[in-house]
């Protein structure tokens, strides 16, 4: 039980006695996401005044602060009260009962900050040995330390199903409604109520007990474990079940009133947990950076990063994003001990001299790293370069995967994920085994090797028929007239390597036999059985070990005739050579396309002009994911803004402001 509470977390940082940082703002011991807002860097690039003038900047900044949705006037950043010479932090802590969003805010001017937080003499205040708790508007709870150097702003969401754990329900004096409503208990709301595993901490049991004892001090927020004290604390927080009467709830029958009382009690218990959570944060007094350093092979934020985010469980943590958006069960896939401190990801939002970029680093534990290395062990097919053109191609996305290795590793990956879904783990394991037996990995690997590229080769004018009505002036009877209409449409080219052209050919011949395709001069066309207009008629061919799929039959014809000579510049060649996935998107090329289409139909508008200007300003977006080095994988999405009038961050904010105006 104890192990369960402490082991699954990436950030299960332990309190190290005597290692208290005075400068850092206290942070939770375990978080699913941690974001650092590098305010010194941000305000070195963009003055407070300019940030104030930028709608994007102001809104992003405002996200750090308690938000009053009824507040009419905009926030004045120069009077926010925050200290812009220190970092602010965001921590997200998910448990099976309460999810906490905690903002760690450095205070520079308490008077201004109190005004922003709307703290008045009437604000409900609770004393704590380290400062004060304030109950703000919109259910925000705020802690301000006694030296007024920092604030902790907390929002939380609750899950009532947390009481469908019989032990917990009993402990807190709540009814238990049986296994049908049971939840998978993975983490307690207040895990610190349990003793930490001895091997994971330097804190002695007696020290721990003294901490717990300290928290139950009469003048502080109650830190309680047994039912009697829990109820007492619940009453102390100001919500008394006896105060909830028929008139207040509006319920007229006993059952509904009882239900309302029960919900109120749950709310109160969760409020207690929230206060306990905050109490632990401030009393343990461990800073975010100090905690993050416990990550294996930790990497510090980039010095030019405005925001840096750390997430648990590495690149597969998309599941955790899912949890953040309300899909808790699937988020538990990798919530195992093994995926603790060893698997993490870091994202930096960097602004340097010429680029704005998001760069990431994903650290994987040994097994996962070895698996990933196998999956991405593939060289770029150099023949692809022959058909790509650095100047003309508007967008390119390339991937180097090893299909055979991927299929061989898939059963193990499936089983691994299944281990964390107890209810269907056996089924998943069985399916994984069957998958391994049925699928011929080698044959599949030869059919589709795994390296592929998709490109928007060009955007050019294409014409199609449309129908307009002619009206007889004598009778107003209509007659249809077919008119040609032109539109700028993209051409797509997809290439995949195959080592088994014969098998691909057999598949295509089968398609012809079944009437799905027709073939002309080695190019296969999909038949349009529905007589429906399709602006993207895909055709395909196989030539010299590459499967080509395109919307441009002339291109495929030229491929077969050997008429195409690609033009990849050095930068792009390097990009495809060094990375497992990579690509680019030329926003500036799209500007003309947009302009052409809109003007032709007389639809040119302020919106069109704005979109055009923004596209022209954005330049080219490059993205890449590197090969695995050691246990890490690096990547970036980089926008080369390439202008010198102002720094990239300021320029980026202007662009974002323009984008916001597009739909006005």
């Amino acid at each position: 039980m104890l192990k369960k509470y402490f082991s699954p977390f990436l950030f299960s940082f332990v309190a190290i006695s005597g290692f208290v940082q005075a400068k850092e703002i206290p942070a939770p011991k375990q978080s699913n996401f941690v974001s650092s807002f590098n305010l010194p860097f941000i305000f070195s690039q963009l003055s407070e005044g300019k940030m104030n003038q930028s709608e994007t900047g102001r809104q992003l900044y405002q996200a750090l602060l308690p938000r009053d949705y009824n507040y009419d006037s905009d926030l004045d950043i120069t009077k926010s009260g925050l200290d812009h010479t220190r970092n602010a932090w965001f921590h997200y802590v998910a448990t099976d009962s309460v999810n906490y969003s905690l903002r760690l805010l450095p205070i520079g001017n308490m008077k201004d900050f109190a005004k922003v937080a709307q703290i008045t003499d009437k604000t409900k205040k609770t004393a704590h040995s380290k400062g004060n708790f304030y109950q703000l508007f919109n259910n925000y709870t705020l802690f301000i330390d006694s030296t007024e150097s920092y604030a902790l702003l907390i929002e939380y969401t609750t899950n009532y199903n947390a009481f469908q754990d019989s032990a917990r329900a009993a402990r807190w004096g709540m009814p238990y409604y049986g296994d049908d409503y049971a939840v998978e208990v993975t983490e307690e709301a207040v895990p610190a109520l349990e003793y930490p595993p001895v091997e994971a901490t330097e804190v002695t049991e007696s020290e721990w007990q003294s901490d717990a004892y300290r928290a139950t001090d009469a003048n502080e927020v109650a830190m309680v474990e047994d039912t009697d004290v829990a109820v007492e604390a619940w009453i102390d927080t100001g919500t008394n079940a006896s105060e909830i009467d028929q008139e207040e709830t509006g319920y007229t029958d006993d059952y509904s009133l009882e239900y309302a009382l029960e919900q109120a009690k749950k709310d109160s218990i969760m409020t207690i947990w929230m206060y306990q959570f905050l109490d632990e944060v401030v009393t343990d007094n461990i800073g975010s950076e100090q905690l993050l350093r416990s990550l294996k092979d930790w990497e510090a934020p980039n010095k030019n990063a405005a925001v840096t985010t750390y997430m648990k469980s590495g690149f597969m943590d998309l599941f955790y994003l899912a949890k953040y958006f309300g899909l808790p069960k699937y988020a538990m896939f990798l919530n195992s001990e093994e995926h603790g401190m060893e698997n993490w990801s870091k994202f930096d939002l960097v602004f340097d001299e010429t680029t704005a970029r998001i760069q990431f680093c994903t650290r994987m534990e040994d097994k996962l790293a070895a698996t990933s290395k196998r999956i991405y062990k593939r060289k770029w097919n150099k023949r692809f370069n022959k058909y790509l053109n650095s100047d003309k191609n508007v967008a390119v996305f390339g991937l180097k995967m090893n299909t055979q290795n991927y299929l061989e590793e898939s059963p193990n990956l499936m089983k691994k994920m299944g281990e964390n879904i107890p209810k269907i783990d056996a089924e998943i394991a069985l399916f994984a085994d069957l998958f391994g037996i049925i699928v011929d990995e080698k044959a599949m690997g030869e059919l589709i090797s795994g390296d592929a590229v998709v490109a928007v080769t060009e955007i050019k004018e294409q014409s199609y028929e449309s129908v307009k009505y002619n009206w007889n002036e004598e009778t107003f009877e209509s007659s249809e007239e077919k008119v040609m209409k032109t539109e700028m449409l993209p051409h797509i080219l997809m290439m995949m390597t195959t080592k088994d052209e014969a098998a691909v050919d057999r598949l295509l011949q089968y398609g012809i036999k079944r009437g799905a395709y027709e073939q002309k001069e080695g190019i296969y066309y999909l038949k349009n059985k529905m007589s429906t207009y399709n602006p993207f008629q895909f055709c395909f061919t196989v030539y010299k070990g590459i499967i080509f799929v395109s919307t441009d039959n002339k291109l495929l014809s030229d491929v077969r005739l050997g008429k195409i000579s690609g033009k990849m510049n050095k930068q792009h060649k390097k990009l495809v050579k060094k990375n497992v996935s990579m690509g680019w998107l030329k926003f500036d090329e799209l500007a003309g396309v947009w302009d052409n289409n809109m003007n032709k139909d007389g639809q040119s508008s302020i919106r069109t002009i704005r979109i055009n200007n923004t596209l022209k300003s954005l330049g080219t977006l490059y993205f890449n994911t590197s090969k695995i080095k050691g246990n890490k994988m690096y990547g970036a999405a980089s926008l080369s803004l390439g202008q010198k009038k102002t720094n990239t961050m300021e320029y980026f904010f202007y662009l974002m402001d323009d984008l916001r105006q597009i739909n006005d």
Partner: protein, 223 residues
């Protein structure tokens, strides 16, 4: 693969394609008040966009019906119309290579026509008050149309995003009323009288109706 395709098609819709459609309402009225109605929706000028939207299935929260779904809806509408008293020969045609859909039916009197049009709108969840009301007085030889766009519909339109509103920018509404007798007078100054003087046509951009409170009401007196 699907997310990639979705991104690709969204990219196309955002950065490419113009949008435009025509709605044509053709009413042929006999002296006794019976007649025929033909409603046509022509999106052939935006067919690249429509085809792409259909591939996505859902854009900006709006469900884009497939051709099969459109046909099913039309079949159901025609079935319902044919069971209505005084309505007959309801049929539909579709041309998905040009995205032209047409629905026609015959009616015994204008009251039944009003009921039928209301029914069509209801079956597509369009507020029934957003419908042209026809009035024919055989004795007075007078035909009138009355239409008032609901405030709720106006607000809904006003609340649309710019990119969603854009499809209405060049969209057109055309009404053609054909009579057995010669038209003596008509009240709407923008409506056109045919050379034979037996038909009245009124073409108006959709945005006039949606944004400018433009009235399409017309009273036509026949000889």
């Amino acid at each position: 693969m699907r997310p990639l395709l979705v991104c690709f098609f969204l990219f196309l819709i955002v950065f490419s394609f113009s949008s435009c459609f025509d709605t044509v309402e053709e009413l042929s009225l006999n002296k006794d008040g019976s007649g025929k109605m033909v409603l046509t929706f022509n999106a052939s000028q935006s067919k690249a966009k429509v085809a792409t939207l259909q591939k996505l299935g859902k854009v900006n929260g709006y469900i884009i019906p497939s051709n099969t779904a459109i046909k099913n809806e039309l079949t159901e509408t025609v079935k319902q119309l044919n069971t209505m008293p005084g309505i007959s020969k309801a049929i539909y045609t579709t041309d998905f290579s040009n995205y032209i859909i047409s629905l026609s039916f015959e009616f015994n009197n204008v009251g039944q026509l009003n009921a039928a049009v209301k029914k069509i709108l209801q079956s597509y969840n369009i507020p029934a008050n957003n419908v042209v009301q026809y009035n024919y007085n055989a004795a007075a030889k007078s035909f009138a149309t009355k239409f008032q766009l609901e405030q709720a519909t106006k607000s809904k339109y006003a609340g649309l995003k710019s990119e969603d509103k854009e499809m209405f920018q060049t969209a057109k509404y055309t009404s053609v009323y054909r009579f057995a007798s010669v038209v003596n007078t008509m009240s709407h100054k923008d409506a056109k009288l045919s050379g034979s003087k037996k038909a009245v046509m009124h073409q108006v951009p959709f945005t006039y109706i949606l944004e400018k409170n433009y009235s399409i009401n017309n009273t036509i007196n026949l000889q």
